[in-house]
Amino acid sequence: MAYVAVKGGERAIEAAHAWLAEERRGDPALPELTLAQIEAQLGLAVDRVMAEGACHDRGLAALAIKQARGDLIEAAFLLRAYRTTLPRFGASNPIETDAMRIRRRISATYKELPGGQVLGPTFDYTHRLLDFALAAEGGTVPPAPERRTDAVPMPRVTGLLAQEGLMAPEPPSEAEPPDLTREPLGFPADRPLRLQALARGDEGFLLSLGYSTQRGYGNAHPFVGEIRMGAVTVEFEPPELGFPIELGEITVTECQMVNQFAGSRTEPPQFTRGYGLVFGHGERKAMAMALVDRALRAEELGEPVEAPAQNQEFVLYHCDNVEATGFVEHLKLPHYVDFQSELEKIRLLRREAEGE
């Protein structure tokens, strides 16, 4: 493809950006949005931008949302671009989600399970009716009820199934995972690489693909074994210290999707898992990721690979919304010469057709 450097238009671009800045600010009679307000009151948008921007920093994500005028894909793009300016200090120890400080934890497979069903701050069971009380500003929110109890252990549901030997165990491994921010995506992609791509993948794309597996495109019979959301400690071992230290806490959402597996020549019938893990409170994304992760395991589990969600190249090459938007939106760039040649060709064909 050929692009032509086009001169001129500088003044037009400057004027366009000045107008953009004015539009972004909106009515100057209204107070300007602060980053703290975005962080606190549009928290799930911040979480989504961090997840798809693949960079955990609430303040930067809030800035990106403000700059992008609320366009969350543009905001993820801004965050991805910013991260390329920072040095990499290293990689953390794997976060241990069983040690999570739980804010929400539910299971659809066991009613009564150790630690119980903890609903947390959820939209579930709300009536989805517009709440006009929120339109009137200045209301105070009563504090949420508290119940002081002794700490209850919350073992993983997959662990409960594994104890009975009914859940395929994850082979223990400390292998250095591949990193698609350093090496281009290659196929076949191992599960760690796939999970990295899915974790930063577009929520809408993964949601639709996950949905497709439920509707028959891929042989899925999923149950939500467990969703948990809360704070986990991130540990890092600086080379100069030689022992791990805590960098702080981040919120993550984890989904363990439990799926039937009919068994194979080497494996007995059992359950297998699809796994979802995302930055922030991103339940829909974690669930969709878990569905797609399981679908992408078809080949390793000896299942037929027939549906789009089971096709590694289809899923992994198209789930990244920053790449997708780049290629789709590049169509807006000048293609004058390309198009000129197409035009010549069509005219020629027309002349030939008319001449005959």
Binding site: C55, H56, D57, G59, T97, V118, L195, A199
Partner: protein, 137 residues
């Protein structure tokens, strides 16, 4: 170190007001912001994978007596990283350690524990009690 990583610069500084003065220091490196790739495990307990990066600010300092302190804290708070590094160095002095622990680290840890306890209590209030349905019959 974990306590200082969870506290912002303002709350560390507020605790330092009531603490013995920190020794003078010089910066060896930073404070500078970079990234640490946060990793998860497939299936929660299997092989590691790269989840995404976290912004991290680090700082290394040297005290007049040669003690070196390091800090790595999540986020971009340069002042927090520098204060944490100075405290890391100062806490290595057995004479200064008890007073600094009492004035800075322990109160910050208590604040953090209280916040965590409040979170846990709010979560516990949303725990579903299925047995209440049985007693209603």
């Amino acid at each position: 170190m974990g306590v200082l990583a969870r506290a912002d610069a303002a709350s560390i500084a507020a605790r330092l007001d009531d603490a013995p003065a920190l020794p003078a220091h010089s910066r060896l490196r930073g404070p500078e912001t970079g990234l640490v790739m946060a990793r998860g495990r497939q299936g929660g307990d299997g092989a590691p994978f790269n989840l995404g990066e976290v912004t991290v600010t680090r700082c290394s300092v040297r005290l007049a007596d040669g003690t070196v302190g390091h800090a790595y804290v999540a986020g971009r708070d340069a002042r927090q990283a520098e204060l944490a590094a100075v405290l890391d160095a100062a806490l290595q002095d057995p004479a200064a350690r008890p007073a600094l622990l009492a004035a800075v680290i322990e109160p910050l840890a208590a604040e953090q524990a209280a916040r965590a306890a409040r979170d846990a209590a709010r979560a516990a209030a949303t725990r579903v009690e299925f047995f209440t349905m049985a007693t209603m019959r």
